[in-house]
Amino acid sequence: MNLPLAFFGGVDPWIFTFSFITVALTLWMGFRSAKTSKTASDFFVAGRSVSVGWNASAISGEYLSAASFMGIAGMVMSSGYDALWYPVCYACGYLFLLLFIAGPLRRFGAYTIPDFAEGRFDSPMFRKIAVCFVLFIGFFYTMPQMKGAGVTLAYIFPGLPYWVGVVLVGAVITLNVALGGMKGITLVQAVQYWIKLFAITVPIFVLMAVVGFYNGQVGANLAYGETNASAANLNHATGIERKPLVAKAPADPAWIAPFGPLTTKAVNAAAAALPAEQRAAFLAEHQKPYSLVYTYSLIIALVCGTAGLPHILVRFYTNPDGVAAKKTTMWVMILIGVFYVFPPVFGVIGRNLMPELYSGVGAKGTDKVVLELPTLISAKYGVVGSILSGITCAGAFAAFMSTFSGLLVSMTGALAHDVYGRMLRPKSSSAERMVAFKLAAILIGGVAVTLGCFVEPLEINFMVGQAFAIAAASYFPLLFMSVWWRGMTMKGAATGMLTGGLCALGAAALTNLGTLALDKGPMGKIFAGFAPLNGYWAEHPLLRILCEQPAIWSVPLAITLMIVVSKATSAQVPADIRMKMLVLHAPEKLGLKQEYIQDHQAGAGH
């Protein structure tokens, strides 16, 4: 009896209560909606009657993951201005989706990217290749969700090791999915969006009212060419209070200006390896050009990657028609845009008032600033701080639970229906497939939890950026080129997608292995074999940047390969390509819409 008491000793009852209610509510809604909606086609058909407002909330709810909720704030705090590209590009990527892909894909009537790949090229083989990328991108996307879970649980229960949180949350959600709950039901996802928006805005407005507003908090940092005296005047005028920065925190001018610690890390590491007298010259020559390359590569990855995320495109088909699809996209941009203004504010205030987080590593580092920051006002307003912290914890749970279960469902669907049901055992019965679905859910959940245990030293937001880079080099070129160029052949599309995607995947994996080898904790020992990689990168900082942010070369590579190979195999362009192009582009009023993919096939996808 003593053990649980000691375990709960450091737990704040308010934080625990809010988090517990969110988890229970999510699980309950998942089970309830699983009863009313048994098959994937139920979900799609029911979805078609959903209004623009609900559908836009649901898409936003599925999109805002742990990276958006916790990662952005942590990264803005640790890296400053450069991290702002993440929220901006997460939101603006939808514009590319709207301009080039959403309308044609909606007219084509394919539910998922594998459906589209098969229908556009009349090739079941290509479908299988496309399915593999659902799994690749999915695993990269689940790792940061798992870290979010580990960090949040380690915050709620201060004595709990990071990995216990990952295993616990991963097991609960996996079990829930395996038992049939948590299908991507519109209502659940829509409610999750409003929980997240509430959980990020209410605490930050209360905080800003107490400690000073966004502009004042940014203003408390010295910018380019400013001196301590001018900052002192400014702080005096705005009344912003600051705690002294710790040694590990970046200095003011580097933090507030572009080309700061995030984008110059590789060059700085290279300079540190040089003899002291050469450092200044090396930095002056390479630092800014290289960080410009980093910035552009990051932008390409995030903007193109959003347009190629498999679990997001699915939702566009729940719209009744193309007009509603376009309006939904616009509302999604507004809803997520409103949300994305606020996480950086946590990072900015955290820098001024909670600098001790810079010294923490892993689960104790800047990634938990969203959860902990509201407790600042506890000293003045007592329990209000705990309540607000409980609300942000509840939002964090909503974030990683909704995204993780959505990903788990689509990955399990890909494995159970496409890989098992079509490739391994095409003749399996319906009951066998249900068993396969459950086993696949447990298998994928298990792999996701195992991967999640290893990534404590990596930043949440950075990992999501890698998933986007892989999507940008595989699915985005596929969709963009297939929609707008009729000369594409299956071989061209497959070569480009595989090469681009696998190159990005390899580069991202190498970067992570190098970073893990540097970790001071147990991960550093496991991955110590990769330490020489960092030495090599110190000599070649540009290669390190191109590995960390591969989009700038992998996206053009994929598109070039698609064009070259398609030209070489131009005899294999589908015979009815003109009809396919008409279906993709002709206004729906002309009545050309042709459902290429029947409902029973679509059921396999999700």
């Binding site: 004042g216 845009g337 707008w484 003109r578």
Partner: protein, 104 residues
């Protein structure tokens, strides 16, 4: 919704119709994308070549921070609003043109 006559069908399935359809839609999308990309890709260039200007203070924010952290979102909303208006009008025009041609 019109019941397609054979003549109407011929026009719809003709090469020139598809070509003009795709060209008009792509032109609109590229115009909107270009506006967006000029701002998105221009901002790092401004940061690169005019750091002192971009560090100008506006109510506490630096100019660069204000643009990226706050103003960029409404900018994208405006582009998407304009695109949706125009693309709906374009689809309407395409249907009208077709009726016009096929009724001759």
């Amino acid at each position: 919704m019109s019941s397609p006559t054979p003549n109407h069908d011929d026009v719809v399935h003709s090469e020139p119709f598809l070509r003009s359809l795709m060209r008009r839609q792509l032109a609109l999308s590229i115009a909107c994308a270009a506006t967006f990309l000029v701002a998105l890709l221009g901002l790092p260039l401004l940061n690169y070549f005019a750091p002192a200007f971009m560090a100008t203070r506006l109510a506490g924010f630096t100019l660069s921070w204000l643009i990226l952290g706050v103003l960029f979102f409404p900018f994208v909303w405006i582009i998407s609003y304009v695109f949706i208006k125009r693309s709906l009008r374009l689809e309407e025009a395409e249907v009208q043109d077709l009726h016009h041609v096929s009724s001759k």
